[in-house]
Symmetry: C2
Subunit: 329 residues, 2 copies
């Protein structure tokens, strides 16, 4: 591929002048500019950004690590953050950790080698190894979805405890009093622990009761279905069910219907996330809306700020939520 050198030779000027033309700098005679431009077109010159990046010590690259692409949260989040990053004239280097904790760490290292300017990490957990890897990163890391502020890692999180608390309130208000919770795995502080904790608090606070159970499974409709089938047998008195995600809730409603109970009547059901799935299913799912695209944008802004100013204005940003009232509760 043609380089500056060739263009210079072809147009009979020096590399410096060609460089000036390419970068639209002042102080180049119009006629030379033209001459150079012609040579550029002629040999199809394309500036080599790698060489530039090395020289300028700046890559305009933002690393983004996600656990998987096909989830409401990450897809919407990516849409949000990519628009902010693009507006800042930077690019997204994307890595899919496929829920593998070791890969997450591996990517943080690889991104540092690539000299990204910062890293956005969609986290589903936060263990010692991950914290250490983040600490060792030479470039700033912003966490999305889990709270790392205790370790001094800037984090954008959703108000999971608040959602849990409100879930309890809504379920009680709808007349339920035997309330269970289906979460995910206990490593996921935000989704499993915080949401359950909020539920427990509101149940205690309002009625001095506890949750019937805290079941755990995957993030899928199928998992919600299977768990609920069993739970219905174990807890016949169940009349309120809070599910950590909408998909789980939809699976749960299916199991409830199959057991000849009516979701939203015999058993109130609540999900989290405002997945479009909840809008089209029957009965439609009452849930909580998290503005995933907005949290994507915010996290990008926080990171860009961190890159710019070398220090954090915010250490934790808790996104609010919205109650979505539909048929299931």
């Amino acid at each position: 591929m043609a380089g500056l050198h060739e263009v210079a030779k072809l147009s009979g000027v020096s590399k410096s002048t060609v460089s000036r033309v390419i970068n639209n700098e002042y102080g180049v005679k119009a006629s030379t500019k033209e001459k150079v431009q012609k040579a550029i077109d002629e040999c199809g010159y394309v500036a080599n950004q790698v060489a530039r990046d090395l020289k300028l010590q700046k890559t305009n690259l933002i690393g983004v690590i996600v656990p998987r692409m096909s989830s409401n949260a990450t897809a919407k989040g990516l849409d949000g953050l990519s628009s902010v990053i693009e507006l800042a004239g930077k690019h997204v280097l994307l890595a899919n950790s496929q829920q593998d904790n070791e890969k997450e760490i591996e990517y943080i290292k690889r991104f540092n080698q690539k000299r990204v300017e910062g890293i956005l990490l969609y986290a589903t957990h936060l263990d010692e190894a991950l914290v250490k890897a983040i600490k060792q990163s030479a470039v700033p890391v912003v966490l999305i979805g889990q709270d790392g502020s205790l370790f001094n890692i800037p984090s954008i999180i959703h108000d999971d405890v608040g959602v849990g608390f409100n879930a309890g309130l809504r379920l009680l208000e709808a007349g339920a009093s035997n309330i269970g919770f289906i979460g995910v795995n206990s490593q996921d502080i935000a989704v499993d622990q915080c949401r359950f904790q909020g539920l427990t608090q509101s149940l205690q606070h309002s009625r001095q009761i506890s949750a019937l159970f805290h079941s755990r499974g995957e993030f899928t409709i199928e998992s919600g279905y299977q768990q609920t089938k069993q739970l219905l047998l174990d807890w016949p008195q169940l009349d309120g069910l809070f599910c950590a995600t909408d998909r789980i809730a939809i699976g749960a409603m299916k199991a409830i219907s199959e057991a000849n109970k009516i979701p939203g009547k015999d058993i109130k059901v609540l999900g989290v996330g405002n997945d479009e799935l909840g809008l089209v299913c029957t009965p439609s799912l009452s849930t909580f809306n998290y503005a995933f695209d907005l949290s994507g944008k915010k996290s990008a802004q926080v990171l860009l700020d961190l890159i710019e100013n070398k220090q954090a204005d915010v250490s934790k940003l808790v996104m609010s939520f919205e109650n979505i009232f539909r048929q299931s509760c």
Copy 2:
């Protein structure tokens, strides 16, 4: 940030030797290796991939351009292709064109500057400007979702005509004979044109009839709903409806229900894409499954092959589909 030079000074050897240690090359005395390793740990050296890339003239970067992230097709596709690219030891540079035709072209250029090794382009259209931009790309471009093989652009497409044809057959077989089509915009050859063309062919072939109408709108549930509300008024005899996407079909079913007709009984409805939404809605949506993750993988494989061998083994790859039978038809 510490460089090779510092490590060399710190360990009292030359840069060459440090480089050898870093790259695990043979012919370094164990004791020197150790010495160097200690120095590396000491000053927290992280190899600069930008400099390497420049020297080696190789970036291991694959550019991926998508119209938007939060769509079933792209999210699943990204999951598929990223796993293949990762396995090949390469990285994904992601760009979100936000359905903007000019941005697509802009990104192709920017990716060339970044010296990506190849580009994967999720296309929703294919006009002259885009073809020209692809032709001008110094690195191979693989098209996903639209057929560019006429312009000699390697393409991974879904069998849209085949789906349309089968849709006609299924609708007729279910007893419908007044059949309409809701597409998107006419620029989208694959989704709008081909699917309609297939439908037309099967209707002609089986019964020598034509489609009642070819309506057009957006890719959304709402758009399907609004269009169908009007179409029901215009075509009271309608008893079969083929929708270019599942979302449109779901909106259509809502409008049908509201008009006191039963989707799947009074009016048979068929979508395309096997979106999970179709599984949870009532009545559940009969549709066609496209293996989006697989087409993502395939396209990555084709591109890697193209990069490796500098020439295309396949110029067009048509992915098959699967009939999904549910309640709506």
